[in-house]
Symmetry: C2
Subunit: 253 residues, 2 copies
């Protein structure tokens, strides 16, 4: 029997405007759609004629095993993640569990830090490090080491999963580490629900960032030594020289 | 007079399948489209009724000044970048040069490392650092420092602009630095023209990576200590425990 194809699909930040055509096509080509309930709810407009299986958090292994069993029966299956399925999404665990017989296509998408950055202005214009503060699957000492080295080397730092109902202290510790190397005036962008309804965008500083709401729907972006705020936008310069332009225009930024 | 709106648009890796609807809408809402010629060529299907201004490399400041002058005359303008306009794209310099009178919207897109990762499998499933090896605008000592700290903290490392016709040695030096901390057997993904015609995908190791073609259309992804290759896919595990599943299926990865 012909086996089905598995698509691991990143649907982007959630707003249909930021999906790719490739993601839509993958879902349309699938008989069955599987995902965490919150993500399934973001694509209801695409799934009316599909079998949809939604499941709760922390069921990743069960979800992949279900995907694999269904594909073996000859059906095409889309396993959906928000953002990019290849960045803290479902692509890795699915590829770990699948054997070589089944065809798997990872469909990339716009990841949360890209969406958040565009709402803030342009904070990711120079080298950056992405770190998840979730220590559910990763040793907290390793996460702290990564925050330390990223701050020491003056990376812009994007934090995923900065805080949840049960994990309250990691963002506080991470900030303390960053303050060893970064000025307390470093701009910090805090974006909740990037590109979704109820998006909120705040530009704070390392000093003040903890005064703002930070939860599991939030991405936090900490600038490098050159990042600045201008006209309510957070900007990390790449290094272009536009002095002659400013002189001509009689402007200073 | 009403001023025009400026869109800074990321068109994704180049293949129309990976554009977002938001990018298409921004271009459709614009009277004038401006960009580096290679990127303009990737969106000809959207620009037949538009005034199109394409320019060469290293003309970023001139291009932004042109965008600003045109918007001041009341026309909407899209400034296009490939990938995500906010990641080593045009969003930063435009926001640096524009004054507060003009409305600017940054339209995020799928950045090159997401596209490359999806073609390789799932190498970005854990914390990663993105570094451009171009020292045109950045001090080489700072770039080396970032490579060093990223390798020390066992980040997956994505390299943009790894090599060009005139910059030949940076990738060699960067590899030497990474070999201080990472095993020579660390998987390295080398993707040229990700998601475009003539895409090539290679999984090598830190030991062998320089035997493969690496140029300015290439993204290089170096794994962390746990990254492995399986069925021709490069996978960085997130840490999920699927031992029980393997036992049930009688499989070992």
């Amino acid at each position: 029997m012909k086996k089905g194809k598995i698509y691991v699909v990143g649907i982007g930040p959630g707003n249909p405007e930021y999906r790719s055509l490739a993601a839509i096509t993958a879902i349309q080509n699938s008989d069955v759609i599987i995902g965490y309930k919150t993500y399934i709810d973001l694509i209801v407009d695409l799934t009316s004629d599909k079998k949809v299986i939604s499941s709760g958090m922390k069921k990743e292994v069960d979800r992949c095993s279900e995907v694999i069993e269904i594909a073996k029966t000859g059906k095409n299956v889309s396993l959906v993640s928000s953002g990019d399925a290849g960045i803290y999404g479902m692509a890795g665990i699915l590829l770990e569990m699948v054997n070589g017989e089944l065809e798997v296509e990872v469909v990339c998408g716009i990841t949360a830090v890209s969406a958040a950055a565009s709402s803030l202005g342009a904070p990711l214009m120079h080298d950056f490090a992405i770190i998840s503060l979730s220590d559910l699957l990763t040793d907290w000492e390793l996460i702290k080491k990564r925050v330390d080295h990223a701050a020491q080397a003056d990376f812009v730092i994007g934090l995923y999963n900065p805080r949840s109902k049960s994990r309250r202290t990691q963002i506080v510790e991470a900030r303390d580490i960053m303050l060893k190397y970064k000025s307390k005036d470093t701009p910090v962008g805090i974006v909740r629900n990037a590109k979704r309804e109820n998006e909120s965008v705040v530009i704070a500083t390392l000093d003040t960032m903890l005064e703002h709401e930070i939860d599991m729907f939030t991405v936090v972006i900490i600038g490098n030594a050159k990042t600045f705020e201008k006209h309510d936008k957070m900007i990390t310069p790449r290094g272009y020289d536009y002095k002659a332009y400013n002189e001509k225009m009689g402007t200073n930024i």
